[in-house]
Amino acid sequence: MTAASRAPARRPRPAHLRSLRRWLGAALLAALTVLVVLPILWMVTTSFQAGEKMFQLTTEWIPTVWHPENYPNALSRAAFPTYFFNSGVVSVAVMAGNVVFCTLAGYGLAKFRFPGDRFMLLLILSTLMLPLEVTLVPTFLVVYNLGWVNTYQGIFGPLLVDAFGVFLMRQAILSVPSDYIEAARIDGASELRILWQVVAPQCRPALAVLAVLSFRDSWDQFLWPLTVVSQDEYRTFPLGLVKFGEYYGNPATEQMAIAVLATIPVFLLFAVLQRWVNRGFGLSGLK
């Protein structure tokens, strides 16, 4: 770096200019944020619109007439309460499965040395290249052979453990000081107790991330339930929503109402766990 280029940069800017720049930046970022979330706002506002508004050229951001009845109407079109319930059962099961099994495996891989441990870790990581989209046909045959077609466990079974979850928990548990574990072990605590009372509390941020992401991904599942469910009582909401537009009197505005309802649970879970999630993402330094 030359001396010439160094000189001007050293001159401090006047304070008011700095503050102006800051607020200008804030305004720009806010504008950008609005632009990014605009589709979400559109979804919400459209869900309160009259059906025929969908065919107009202009977007009416605040409905002149609100139609909250879109929500009860939409819910009554098909068995949406059942579909949401099914999605809830499946997603909670997937979340629980991931939290339990990924933590167990993560603990085993992070704090124990045994022959083949490294190989096991690589083996688990390698399943990242085997998503359900790839193994759809044989996975279906496995689930069928288990007698799980048209059951809840058939839907959530193949989603119960995710390699990323194992990896996430292993990395989190690595940073738990082994001295704590040793101390508990010397005190005679059982291994499960150590995991539950010593390790897990230290990993709350990672667990929160795992919970939110696994819930979201299960809530999102479409292809798998489409393949494995053939009875209405086990359909999940995405299956219902895709077919929603196919019948008379199902206006797009009501479709948006279902979309809004489908979004709420994930947002809520995120809101509840947000404090931990932010730390889990390594954002504790963020002002």
């Binding site: 025929e52 048209n150 393949t227 019948y247 008379y248």
Partner: protein, 453 residues
């Protein structure tokens, strides 16, 4: 593809009235007698599974008939499941693969070859369905329906509903542009284009109203709407060797007609059509287009979307245009009641009884599922409630004069290929002949693969 919704109260009194008429139908009196006998029979409990497609009218009617049957036969339990129209075929395939296929189901007629070529269906005994003989059975339907349900001289499907498409006109739009729908409805494809052009209203590059539009959203609709144009041009889907001949001169001519409404007459907006609604007839119901080819539309569905249109009756269905003026016809397609070949003997027996019972009251089927016409001729057409139904003559004529969809084991591949070809031609201005060549080659590959099994 989807059907239509009409809220119908299945009034018991009306059912009783029409039952008398229905019983006059061929062989039905005998059917009723055996039904009574079946009820009296002492039998162990039988558990059946039955699948059908979802439709706001037809599915509830089937469900109702099954419920009534199980009430009369307390030893029979039926697990009733239904699927979106487009998913039923795939669900059945998976079901057959895994042994979870239902004992009985409603099969779309274009899937019959798929099941029959793999011996998945049990032959039906038409006498147990209430017909005196095979001839009596065959005589109760237009020949094309029975043909599609027959394999090596054996009947495998009991045709339930079959219908053709009509051209639904908005007669008020006709009047607006100085046309009289009764006289000026398009009888040839050129007339369709000319009339559609007059009916079109544009604002810059935006269509306020499309004069006419083809459906663009699903392969099945593409097939149903294109199939008769191809036939009218003298085309056949396959030659004697089983090669796909959509790229023949007739095919090019038919596809040129198909594309002309947009390309030549500028009277439709395919990009808008594909992007809006999974229910293509919605634009017609909302008067965003003036003419649309559709299966029978229930008046209640029109009321639910556009009450004025139904009140003032400013619509009417007419027959398809023709390559030869006035000789147009549409596709006729439908649904068969079938029995799984793997269902145990006893269940097959009970399914025969169930199907006979379901069909023992065809006027009730009309009452609940009008205006979807039944496949059979007997037992309902003369009923005053049918005769009084608006435009019923056009609906039945479309059913009787239509051509069936190609009956082939590679139907899905064919339909998908045609659909994508139409997209390329209409949305991306692809060359018609080259596109049809591509379709034919792909279908031939599929046929070859199917042959090798």
């Amino acid at each position: 593809m989807t059907h239509t919704k009409m809220t119908t109260a299945a009034g018991a009194s009306r059912r009783e009235v029409v039952r008398g008429i229905g019983a006059a139908g061929l062989g039905l009196a005998a059917g009723a007698a055996t039904a009574r006998r079946a009820r009296a029979q002492a039998r162990g409990p039988v558990s059946l599974s039955f699948w059908t497609f979802e439709n706001p009218q037809q599915r509830p009617w089937i469900h109702k008939r099954i419920r009534l049957f199980t009430e009369r036969n307390p030893n029979v339990r039926v697990d009733f499941q239904y699927f979106p129209f487009g998913d039923l075929g795939q669900k059945l395939s998976v079901g057959f693969a895994t042994g979870t296929a239902p004992d009985g189901f409603v099969s779309q007629d274009w899937f019959m070859p798929t099941w029959l070529s793999r011996n998945l269906l049990a032959p039906l005994d038409v006498r147990k369905l209430g017909y005196a003989s095979g001839e009596a059975f065959a005589a109760d339907f237009p020949p094309a329906f029975v043909e599609g349900a027959t394999h090596n001289g054996q009947v495998y499907g009991y045709p339930l509903w079959f219908y053709g498409f009509c051209n639904y006109l908005n007669t008020r739009h006709f009047a607006e542009v100085g046309l009289d729908a009764e006289r000026d409805w398009p009888k040839s494809w050129e007339e369709l284009g000319e009339v559609a052009r007059r009916l079109t209203v544009k604002e810059g590059d935006r269509f306020v109203r499309q004069g006419f539009k083809f459906a663009m959203h699903a392969a099945q609709w593409t097939m149903i709407q294109f199939n008769p144009i191809f036939h009218q041009c003298g085309g056949r889907w396959f030659d004697a060797q089983g090669r796909c001949t959509i790229n023949s001169e007739a095919g090019v001519r038919a596809m040129t007609i198909r594309a002309s409404i947009a390309r030549q007459y500028g009277a439709e907006d395919p990009a808008d059509t594909i992007a809006t609604n999974p229910l293509p007839q919605m634009d017609w119901l909302r008067e965003r287009c003036s003419m649309f080819f559709c299966h029978p539309i229930p008046p209640a569905a029109i009321t639910s979307q556009n009450p004025r249109m139904e009140q003032e009756r400013y619509y009417r269905p007419v027959q398809y245009p023709g390559v030869e003026r006035g000789k147009g016809y549409s596709t006729t397609y439908g649904f068969n009641l079938v029995v799984n070949a793997r269902a145990p003997r006893e269940k097959q027996e009970v399914l025969h009884e169930l199907y006979r019972f379901m069909m023992s009251d065809p006027a009730d089927a009309w009452a609940d599922a009008a205006p979807f016409p039944l496949a059979r001729k007997s037992g309902w057409v003369d009923n005053p409630s049918v005769q009084r139904f608006p435009h019923v003559a056009e609906i039945i004529r479309a059913r009787d004069e239509g051509v069936p969809l190609p009956r082939t084991t590679v139907y899905n591949e064919l339909a998908d290929q045609v659909h994508r070809g139409v997209q390329r031609i209409l949305l991306n201005r692809a060359d018609i002949k080259a596109t049809l060549d591509g379709i034919a080659a792909a279908v031939d590959r599929a046929t070859e693969a199917a042959r090798r099994g």
